[in-house]
Structure formats: structure tokens, C-alpha cells
């Protein structure tokens, strides 16, 4: 009981410091992707639909930032996201896509029904590129800068309230 009696007080003081830090720093619930700031893994995907080019990592290091959307025709949240992507494309955001485990006719039907904001669509029918990108589900989107480095990862559908953040990330990636 000599020095040990101060131990609880010291432990508590450390706890207070940690909590005070939490209060002082605004909470950021965004989980940053481990891949942010890293170069895109090298890949080359065949076209997902006839009449539109496929996607390779070389297509994404073009000197201007691009948005890569990971989607699938069988994915319900992707339908919710489709109008927002169209709006982003209308505002001049270049968007490419990777279709996950999909069939050409299904992708074509999806695009005919929900709009087609994409410049290129690669077909990743065994999710290999998706996994290499560190993406765990559909939809997800990546902001790629002019040198082909991942700048931001958005998990889940891009909803209207996410548009400013995406546009800002595109701006910062220039």
C-alpha cells in the first residue's frame, strides 16, 4: 500500500486525458481505407457490355481525377445510387465502373433501365479486382487522382447528401 495507493488515481487521470481528447477532436466516423494514398493495383478487365470499352489500371492514370464505381446489376442499393451517379456525370465527373459477378445482358438491361453514366465498364466476374482494391461489397466508389493513386473510398451507395464530399474529393485529387 505504499505507492500502489496512487495507482487508481493515475489510471483515472489517463482515462480523463483520453476522454478530453475525444471531446476536443471532432468525431470522425469515417473509416479510412487502408488503400487511400496508395497506387492502384495493376489490372485489366474485359468489357462488361458490348460497345463499351473495358477497364484497366492504365485507363485510370490519365492526368485528371476519375471516379470508379463498383456495382452489379443484382445489387439493390446500386439502383438507389444510379440517379446520383447520373447527376455526378452531368456535372462533369468522369465515371468508370467495375461490374461484379455479372452477365453482359444483365448489365445492359440495368443500364437501359437506370441510366448509364459510365465511360468504361470492366467486368470482374470473379471479384478479383474488387478484392485487390480492398472493397468488400457493392456498391462502392473510389476517387482516383491523375497519377492513378486512390484518394478516397466511399462504401455503400452515394446518396444525394454525399455529393458535396465526392465533388470535394475529386477537386482535391486534381
Amino acid at each position: 500500500m505504499s505507492r500502489a495507493r496512487f495507482l487508481p488515481l493515475i489510471v483515472f487521470a489517463l482515462l480523463v486525458v483520453a476522454v478530453a481528447w475525444r471531446l476536443a477532436t471532432p468525431k470522425d466516423d469515417r473509416v479510412a481505407s487502408k488503400l487511400e494514398g496508395q497506387k492502384l493495383p495493376a489490372f485489366a478487365l474485359p468489357p462488361a457490355v458490348p460497345g463499351k470499352p473495358g477497364l484497366s489500371s492504365a485507363d485510370l492514370a490519365t492526368g485528371s481525377p476519375r471516379l470508379v464505381n463498383i456495382f452489379a446489376s443484382w445489387c439493390v442499393p446500386c439502383i438507389a445510387e444510379a440517379p446520383v451517379l447520373l447527376e455526378l456525370a452531368r456535372r462533369g465527373v468522369p465515371i468508370d465502373a467495375i461490374a461484379i459477378r455479372d452477365k453482359p445482358e444483365d448489365v445492359a438491361a440495368f443500364l437501359a433501365r437506370h441510366g448509364d453514366p459510365f465511360q468504361r465498364i470492366g467486368s470482374d466476374d470473379r471479384s478479383q479486382v474488387q478484392i485487390a482494391l480492398g472493397s468488400s461489397g457493392v456498391p462502392e466508389s473510389f476517387v482516383i487522382d491523375r497519377k492513378g493513386v486512390i484518394r478516397a473510398q466511399h462504401i455503400g451507395p452515394i446518396m444525394p447528401q454525399d455529393v458535396p464530399a465526392i465533388l470535394q474529393a475529386m477537386e482535391e485529387a486534381k
Partner: protein, 641 residues
């Protein structure tokens, strides 16, 4: 009008708390008339706070939408029970409930505590008033529950439908009564540290509060676990979520305190430990309720974060806990130690109990706070999940269970008697179970296997203290201990059996399909819409059978419109040897098949049955102690007369 009256009552109560604090300190020990005055002030403070809480209840029952809190958290269409429960289903209301319980606990101590040294009681009442004062200030300045809304809206904003459940309506108040009951132990410890008068009398004054609080915490945690089990539809009964940990940590501290109090009351020993645990138990209650509920730790249960509130709470916690721990550090060296004892004795076993419970508490605390500390130190975001807790707390809990087979059978001070004979029944059953699981279920995990063996061995071992006694003359407190320990055995077997033998089936089905899970054959009969008071649902009817007889299970996927939320109502068929648990998932639009999840969980019910037994044991001990105190007092009065 009612809102203003409630607010006025709250201000008056706060003023009385300030007065009580000043009187108790100014009187420097508060003897004679001064103590009588303080008692009166404490009672008035308790009643005024209760009146403020009653005012808020009335506002919620009437759905008075001109009050901001009601408008944001209630709705005229809600069943009345949930309007009532809605009073504490939000930040401000739950804080008011907390303060109400705190003030009433203070009033009860002031009114009924007659055995404790008056100086110690005076300082304890000062501490209790200081606690109340801080939380009154928090309510009045940062979380006013009576704030008006002008103009009043036409409809309220509803209540989280997950909380629309009769069990959950009374879950928070039960836990709060438990948390705040520990405040009395905290205040008494502070009082005793100030006067350096730590001894058996203090332990006896503290014990009913700790026992009562511990019973309520046990029941609250058990009920909360069952609620999560059937309402969240994940088939699990404990998720190591920060809010669950927040209730588990005070419980662990209170469990340790309960055991070390017995040493202090009976033998005058473990003074430093007991004081530390009394301070820690309520500190954990405060840390749990305030840090988690203020959203500083992320949790599914979290209320919105408000930096003002967070800072306010942090200042309060720093003042209270910091001051109490500093007082402990300064004073504990001058507190006399009690009678010495052998390591192999009742005291020795209780010290081991204290150590293991404290280490488990430390593990849970580290796991809960680690994400916060890691992010502060390295900026890295991470979360700590069940694998950490199970791998660390699990083995320690098993060692504790093994010690429980021995401890209650040891004598006070030192035990040189033959050990083997007393321990034989428990060891034989444990080894037999171990061998049986090795032969019959060779593939289950080591922790589950040991859990089953120790749980089974603990059944005869926990009843052993009753052996050879005249059962009718055995004190109720001893019965209470045996039943509570039996409850631990039951819960342990339930947990181990659930983790070892659960069968899970996740499949898609259309009406007419049959699914096999464990010994059951389950047929999906129909899926049809049903409507409730403020929800609509899709209800699946399942017919389950295992040999003879058919049970009908109805599981629902409920849609609430205000606010828009979906919940899964699990259907549970309870059999003597376990539960069949069914959840209806979403429809696959393309194929028209429905997701169905089925679990067969052998003996899972023992988990909550065990929890209830633990609570019952505590209750018996509480009644037994009271009865004994009552009888000795009467005898004392008769002798005097």
C-alpha cells in the same frame, strides 16, 4: 404549467442539495440537531426531485407537445405504457430518473441509517449531496427536460420502435436503481475515509445497499441480455457492446465488493480493498452511464453527442472520481488493518475472488476504452470485439468458477481440516462431465468443454455448505449464497452448451418447404401481412416438430412508420432442453424465396435462469440480513426495557 412546476421543483431540490452539503461540512461532523436538520433537508430534496420526475411522467402521459422533449420523443398514437416508459427513453428524461433515484437514495440513508457513527454519516451525507448537486447542475444547465417548444408541433416524433417492448420499458430503471444504489456505498466509503473509521459497522451499513443494487444490476443485465437475444434477432445473448460492458463493469465491481464486505463485516479485514471497490463500483456506474450514453464511445445504443454535455460530464466525473481516489490515496495508509489470516481460509478465497473479478473488470475496461485510447495515441481507428473478450475474460471466469467450488467451504481465519472429503462431490461430477464430453462430443472447443465440466461440478459444490446443517435453522444469507452460486453454475452450463452445441441453419424457403435443424424438422407454412397498433408486419408461420407433437412458431418482420424502422421479432419455442429460435429475413425479389434463419440452442435458457437464480440468492441474503437486524434490534429493545 406542469412543466414550469417540475422545473421549479428541480431548482428547489438543487438548492437543498447545496444546503445539505454546506450544513454537513460546516457542522464539521454534524451531531445532534444539525444531523436532524440534514436528515430533514435530504428528505425534502428527495421528495422535490420525485415531484419533478412525476411532472415529466404526466407530460409524457398527456403527450404535451409544447414540451420539446415530449415532442421529440413521443407520439399521441403510442400505447400508454410506452408513453410512460418514453419518459426515460431519452437523454434528459433518463438523467432526471438518475438524479431522482440518487436523491431518494440519499433521503433513505439520511432517514434510516442509525447505527453508523454520526460523524461518518454526516460526511457521507455531504458526499451524497455533492453527487446530487453536480447532476442537478447538469440537468438544469445542459439537459433541461422541461424546455418548451413554441409553436407546438401537430404530432410527436415517435420513439425508437426497438424500445417499444414491455421488458425494455423497465430495463433502464432497473439498471439505474442498481447503479445509483451503489452511490450510497460510494458516499459511505468517502465518509469513512474522511473520519478514518473503516470497520465492521461501516460494512454492515453498506451491505444492504450493495446487495440491493447488485440484485437489481443482476436482474437488469439478465433481462437486457434476453431482450437483445429475442429482439435483435441475431441469436446471440451477449455482444460485448460498450453499453453492455458499461453495465457489466459496475456489476463486476459490486460482486467483488459484496464478497469483500463480508470479510470486513465478519472479520474486520480487507479494509483497503473494500473501500477501493466501493469507490470503483459507483465510479464505474458513472463512467458507464455518462461516457457511453453521451456518445463518447460508439455504440448502437448511443445518444447524440453534444460537446457541451460531454465536457460537463467529464468535469463532474473528474471532480468526483478524482477527489474520491485522491482521498483514498491520502487516507488509506492511516486506516488500521484488520485481523490477519492464512492464505488457505475463507478470507483467502475471498481475496482470490476479489483479485479475479478485478482483473476481469480491468480487461473489460481496457477492451471498452482501447479504441478511444488507440485513436488518441496513434490516430488509428479500430474496434475491439468478442474474440478479445472471450479469449481473455473467459479463462479467468473459469478459474473463478473453479475457486467457487472451494471457497464457500473454507473456514474463517485458517482451515487445516481435511480438504478432499469436502471437495469430492464437486470434483467427481466435474471430472465425470469432462470425460463424458470427451467421449460424446470430441469436437467442441476447450473453453466450452471446461465450462460444462466446471458448471456441472459447481452444482453439488455450491450446495455443499448446506450439507450437514439443520436446513430450517440455516440462515437465509447462507441459503442466498448457495442459490446464487447455483445460479452461476446454471448460467455457466447454459453459456458453454450454447457455444458448443448450437446448430444454425440459414436458408431460403417458400411456403411448404421443410428445413432440418438439430433434432427439429421445421415447415414454413405461410407468410402473410398483419397489422399492429403502430406497425405492420409480415408474419411467417412455422410448424416445428421433433418426433411427437407440433409447435407453431410465428416470427415477424415489423415495419414501423414513425420513425421508419424495421425490426425482427424472433419466434422462440422453449423446450425443457433448449430453444428453437426462428427469424424471418427479407424476400429475394428475383426468386420469390424468403430468407429463414433457424437456430437450435440446447440449454440456452439456463443462462437467464441462472441470472434469475443469482438475483434470487441476493434477494434472500438481503431479506435474511434485514430479518436478523430487525430481530436483534427487537431483542435489544426488550432487554433495555
Amino acid at each position: 404549467m406542469i412543466a414550469e412546476a417540475g422545473l421549479a421543483a428541480l431548482w428547489l431540490a438543487a438548492a437543498l442539495a447545496a444546503l445539505q452539503f454546506a450544513l454537513a461540512l460546516g457542522a464539521g461532523g454534524a451531531e445532534g440537531r444539525a444531523l436532524a436538520t440534514i436528515r430533514g433537508v435530504a428528505v425534502a430534496q428527495g421528495l422535490l426531485t420525485l415531484a419533478a420526475f412525476a411532472a415529466l411522467v404526466i407530460l409524457f402521459l398527456r403527450t404535451d407537445l409544447s414540451v420539446l422533449l415530449v415532442a421529440e420523443n413521443s407520439h399521441a398514437d403510442k400505447p400508454w405504457l410506452y408513453k410512460f416508459a418514453g419518459t426515460w427513453g431519452n437523454h434528459e428524461g433518463s438523467m432526471l430518473l438518475w438524479v431522482t433515484v440518487l436523491a431518494i437514495a440519499g433521503a433513505v440513508v439520511a432517514l434510516f441509517e442509525r447505527h453508523l457513527d454520526e460523524r461518518t454519516l454526516g460526511f457521507s451525507l455531504a458526499a451524497q449531496a455533492a453527487l446530487a448537486l453536480g447532476f442537478f447542475a447538469f440537468l438544469l444547465f445542459a439537459s433541461n427536460p422541461f424546455e418548451r417548444l413554441n409553436p407546438a408541433p401537430a404530432a410527436g416524433r415517435g420513439l425508437n420502435p426497438l424500445l417499444q417492448d414491455p421488458g425494455l420499458a423497465f430495463h433502464p430503471p432497473t439498471l439505474y436503481l442498481g447503479y445509483v444504489g451503489l452511490s450510497v456505498a460510494f458516499s459511505l466509503a468517502v465518509g469513512a475515509l474522511v473520519t478514518r473509521d473503516v470497520g465492521p459497522a461501516l460494512a454492515r451499513a453498506m451491505r444492504p445497499w450493495v446487495l440491493g443494487a447488485w440484485v437489481l444490476l443482476t436482474l437488469g443485465i439478465t433481462a437486457g441480455s434476453y431482450w437483445a437475444y429475442y429482439e435483435l434477432g441475431w441469436g446471440g445473448w451477449w455482444f460485448w457492446d460498450p453499453v453492455e460492458n458499461a453495465s457489466l463493469m459496475p456489476w463486476l465491481a459490486a460482486t467483488a465488493l459484496l464478497h469483500s464486505l463480508n470479510v470486513l463485516a465478519a472479520r474486520g479485514g480487507l479494509r483497503a480493498w473494500t473501500m477501493m471497490l466501493a469507490l470503483v463500483a459507483f465510479s464505474m456506474s458513472m463512467v458507464g452511464t455518462f461516457l457511453v450514453r453521451s456518445g463518447i464511445l460508439t455504440s448502437v445504443h448511443a445518444f447524440a453527442v453534444d460537446p457541451t454535455r460531454g465536457s460537463f460530464i467529464l468535469v463532474l466525473l473528474t471532480l468526483y472520481i478524482g477527489a474520491a481516489l485522491a482521498l483514498f490515496a491520502v487516507r488509506i495508509a492511516t486506516v488500521k488493518e484488520g485481523a490477519p489470516f492464512d492464505p488457505l481460509s475463507r478470507e483467502g478465497a475471498l481475496v482470490a475472488n476479489n483479485l479475479f473479478l478485478s482483473v476481469i473488470l480491468g480487461i473489460v475496461l481496457i477492451g471498452t476504452l482501447y479504441p478511444l485510447i488507440a485513436e488518441a495515441a496513434t490516430g488509428e481507428k479500430l474496434s475491439v470485439g468478442p474474440p478479445y473478450f472471450n479469449a481473455t475474460a473467459g479463462p479467468l471466469a473459469l478459474i473463478l468458477a473453479a475457486l467457487m467450488m472451494i471457497g464457500p467451504q473454507l473456514r474463517w481465519r485458517r482451515d487445516r481440516g481435511p480438504m478432499l472429503q469436502r471437495l469430492a462431490p464437486g470434483i467427481v461430477v466435474a471430472v465425470a462431465t469432462l470425460v463424458a464430453t470427451l467421449l460424446l462430443a470430441p469436437s467442441i472447443s476447450l473453453l466450452s468443454r471446461l465450462g460444462l465440466a466446471l458448471g456441472a461440478g459447481l452444482v453439488p459444490a455450491s450446495l455443499a455448505p448446506l450439507a450437514g446443517r439443520a436446513l430450517r435453522r440455516t440462515p437465509l444469507a447462507t441459503w442466498g449464497m448457495c442459490i446464487a452460486h447455483l445460479g452461476v453454475a446454471a448460467a455457466l452450463i447454459g453459456m458453454a452448451s450454447d457455444s458448443a452445441f448450437t446448430r444454425e441453419k440459414l436458408t431460403t424457403a417458400v411456403p411448404g418447404d421443410r428445413i432440418e435443424v438439430g433434432p427439429w424438422l421445421v415447415e414454413l407454412r405461410s407468410i402473410r401481412p398483419v397489422a399492429g397498433p403502430n406497425w405492420t408486419a409480415l408474419e411467417a408461420e412455422l410448424r416445428a416438430s421433433k418426433g411427437a407433437g407440433v409447435s407453431v412458431l410465428k416470427t415477424q418482420s415489423r415495419y414501423f412508420t414513425e420513425p421508419v424502422t424495421t425490426t425482427n421479432e424472433a419466434a422462440i419455442e422453449t423446450d425443457w432442453n433448449g430453444q428453437l429460435y426462428a427469424v424471418l429475413g427479407a424476400e429475394d425479389v428475383a426468386t420469390g424465396r424468403w430468407q429463414v434463419r433457424l437456430w437450435w440452442k440446447p440449454f440456452v435458457t439456463l443462462i437467464w435462469l441462472g441470472g434469475a437464480l443469482i438475483g434470487l440468492g441476493g434477494l434472500l441474503a438481503l431479506i435474511g440480513r434485514w430479518w436478523r437486524a430487525f430481530r436483534t434490534r427487537r431483542r435489544f429493545v426488550e432487554a433495555e426495557w
